[in-house]
């Protein structure tokens, strides 16, 4: 055999295959594609080779033991951290070099594990901050009370109350966000994130601190939000009732690496997942 001299030396890497999306989304571009995403903190690989595809209207779950790197993944997706390897495609667009603000404008909104509301502002004002880039007018229109001010303020007010009605929170519009009960604060964070008109909503432990009844309601509301706004949801949660109850695709993370991906049934039966959560079974 004659040796063929190659002109190109391109290194070929696999585009993460075996991604699953709901059947209804198969003809639509995925909302998010994470490819070989990874970040190192001083040599420690907090997240390594993270690959994920989320369908246009999928409710996806990200689970794993404490310290697995779930919130780090959220911080990578929202550009709080810049990844050391890999990329994130949002609606097919590369997010390389974007900052948090740009990522939000590109269509990604999040809530926080430790609630981060604007505590000294009212519930409605919190939602209005979410509407900041949706309903606009300039600084001078605001100071001079120009017609644009009155028109857009009214629009913000209507839209804010509209969004609050998802969780029946219109009556609390004038309450200081910091004085709300815990569950309501979590719901307000979701409303505020929704106000930024995202195509992907990231929820970091939305059911933390909620009682079973509230969790039940939250599950219904997450589905309601998905149906109403036709958006994708990725959630981190420790409450398995919630995850197994509403998540279509589930991704399990341990020590920064994905150890399993699949539907709720597949995940529950996966021996690797069981081992990660419960420890290795002693051999008889």
């Amino acid at each position: 055999m004659t040796q063929i001299k190659r002109k190109s030396d391109t290194k070929m890497v696999p585009v993460p295959s075996m991604a699953i999306v709901p059947e209804r989304d198969i003809d639509k571009a995925p909302v998010l594609e994470a490819r070989h995403l990874g970040i190192e903190f001083g040599g420690l690989k907090a997240v390594d080779d993270f690959n994920l595809v989320i369908g246009k209207t999928e409710i996806a779950g990200l689970i794993g033991p404490n310290g697995a790197g779930k919130t780090t993944v959220f911080n990578l997706l929202t550009k709080v951290y810049q990844p050391t390897t890999g990329t994130v495609l949002l609606n097919g667009k590369d997010t390389h070099g974007m900052n948090t603000v740009q990522a939000n404008k590109a269509g990604i909104a999040r809530t926080f594990q430790n609630i981060r509301l604007f505590n000294n502002m009212t519930v409605e004002e919190n939602v209005r901050i979410g509407l900041h880039n949706q309903v606009k007018y300039g600084m001078f229109s605001g100071i001079l009370r120009a017609p644009a001010y009155w028109k857009q303020e009214k629009k913000q007010h209507t839209q804010a109350l509209d969004l609050l009605s998802i969780f029946d929170m219109q009556d609390m519009a004038d309450v200081k966000a910091g004085s709300l009960p815990y569950g309501a604060q979590r719901r307000l964070e979701i409303v505020r994130a929704l106000a930024t008109n995202p195509s992907l909503l990231l929820l970091d432990e939305p059911a933390a601190g909620m009682n079973p009844h509230e969790t039940e309601e939250l599950m219904e509301n997450i589905i309601k939000i998905r149906d109403k706004f036709q958006i994708a949801v990725l959630l981190i949660e420790h409450d398995m009732n919630l995850v197994m109850g509403i998540c279509e695709g589930i991704c399990v993370l341990n020590y920064g690496r994905i150890i399993a991906k699949g539907t709720a049934d597949e995940i529950q039966q996966n021996p690797v997942v069981i081992e990660a959560y419960l420890g290795k079974q002693k051999e008889a």
């Binding site: 929202t78 709080v80 900052n99 948090t100 603000v101 990522a103 939000n104 404008k105 909104a109 999040r110 926080f112 981060r116 509301l117 604007f118 505590n119 000294n120 502002m121 009212t122 409605e124 004002e125 209005r128 901050i129 979410g130 900041h132 880039n133 309903v135 606009k136 007018y137 300039g138 600084m139 229109s141 605001g142 100071i143 001079l144 009370r145 001010y149 857009q152 303020e153 913000q156 519009a173 004038d174 505020r192 994130a193 930024t196």
Partner: protein, 352 residues
């Protein structure tokens, strides 16, 4: 419902200022028998206006934007000197004698230059947070004062000469380095000071209750959350900082044109601290509180003249007592119970 609540609170603030102004005006003119303002207090009227504007504008940075700035007097000095130069130049170049218009143009000029200084200082400073920001603003305040100490302006007809550490300029020397501006036309009036207060309140209150103001407060409350809601942090911090600098510059012009001699030494670090005391005492983020605190604390040293040598000691004690009182839950409860009485008392304090 919420809007009307805020609207009412703003209305009270405007009403407070207007009523205080009318009472002061009556006392100055002495139309009512036995109700006449003393000379020393009359001399304090314009400074009170200046300090109110300074306190309200600093409250925009410290209270609304949540950045501790210790260089506010720097912007005041930029405004004062540019205002003085502008007002003198108008006279010598155009024989423009209308005092009110000259004062307005001087204030606008002062605001403009202080705004430029605000942008230049804001670019490096607003990258910092917390204590670091406070210390760097302090340093910039001192830098501005020292630069002002070396500046020389002279007027030769319509020509304006600027010298840096060089007093040998043609024409009549207007600003003479460390000796400051001398022979300034005293064109500031109490009425114009009152107008500037109204203007400041209009700008600050309207800004706070708008889309931009909410963005500024959101950054103060939680920077990370604000960023992830798509709010451009640098832009809105800059907006608050520069607006505050512009208003301080306008107050500076009013202050500068109230005295025949103005030196850079008047805008030292302690002036910045004094204004900060007004803001803290009046309640951080509380505009009405800033107005009352600035008024009372400017009058207080005059009233305490009876104590002669112990004047500043009593002043300090009053300050400490008030600070303790406003932070004590026990006393706050008590105040809550006798609230209506306290409100009228505050108004009288404002008016004397």
């Amino acid at each position: 419902m919420k809007m009307s609540k805020k609207f009412r609170s703003n209305l009270i603030t405007y009403a407070l200022v207007i009523v205080a102004f009318i009472i002061c005006q009556l006392a100055v003119e002495g139309t009512i028998d036995g109700f006449k303002m003393s000379r020393s207090l009359k001399g304090q009227l314009v400074p009170i206006c200046v300090y109110i504007v300074m306190a309200v504008s600093l409250n925009l940075t410290v209270g609304i934007s949540g950045e501790l700035s210790l260089g506010h007097a720097g912007f005041m000095s930029v405004g004062a000197f540019s205002g003085i130069v502008m007002s003198s130049w108008l006279v010598s170049a155009f024989q423009f004698e209308n005092e009110t218009l000259r004062l307005i143009i001087a204030m606008v000029t002062g605001g403009l230059f202080a705004g430029i200084a605000g942008v230049l200082i804001g670019i490096p400073v607003l990258r910092l947070r917390g204590d670091y920001l406070a210390i760097v603003t302090l340093a910039f305040g001192e830098i501005i004062r020292n630069v002002m100490n070396c500046l020389y302006f002279s007027l030769d007809g319509a020509k304006l000469y600027i010298g840096f550490s060089n007093p040998n300029l043609p024409g009549k020397l207007l600003v003479n380095g460390p000796a400051g501006a001398t022979g300034v036309d005293k064109i500031s009036t109490f009425v114009m000071g009152f107008a500037l207060i109204l203007f400041t309140l209009f700008v600050v209150l309207n800004l706070v209750n708008s889309r931009s103001g909410r963005a500024i407060m959101a950054i103060r409350d939680n920077r990370i959350a604000a960023e992830s809601m798509g709010i451009n942090v640098t832009k809105y911090k800059m907006m608050a900082f520069v607006t505050s600098a512009v208003l301080a510059g306008m107050a500076g012009a009013l202050y500068g044109l109230n005295y025949s001699t103005v030196t850079a030494a008047k805008f030292r670090f302690d002036t910045s601290i004094l204004v900060l005391v007004f803001v803290v005492l009046g309640g951080i983020g509380n505009i009405r509180g800033s107005i009352i605190a600035a008024t009372v604390l400017t009058i207080l040293p005059e009233v305490l003249r009876a104590f002669s040598d112990y004047r500043m000691l009593v002043y300090a004690i009053v300050l400490i007592v008030v600070m303790l009182a406003t932070n004590s839950p026990l006393l706050m409860n008590l105040v809550e119970r006798i609230r209506p009485k306290k409100k009228t008392a505050a108004k009288e304090g404002e008016a004397q």
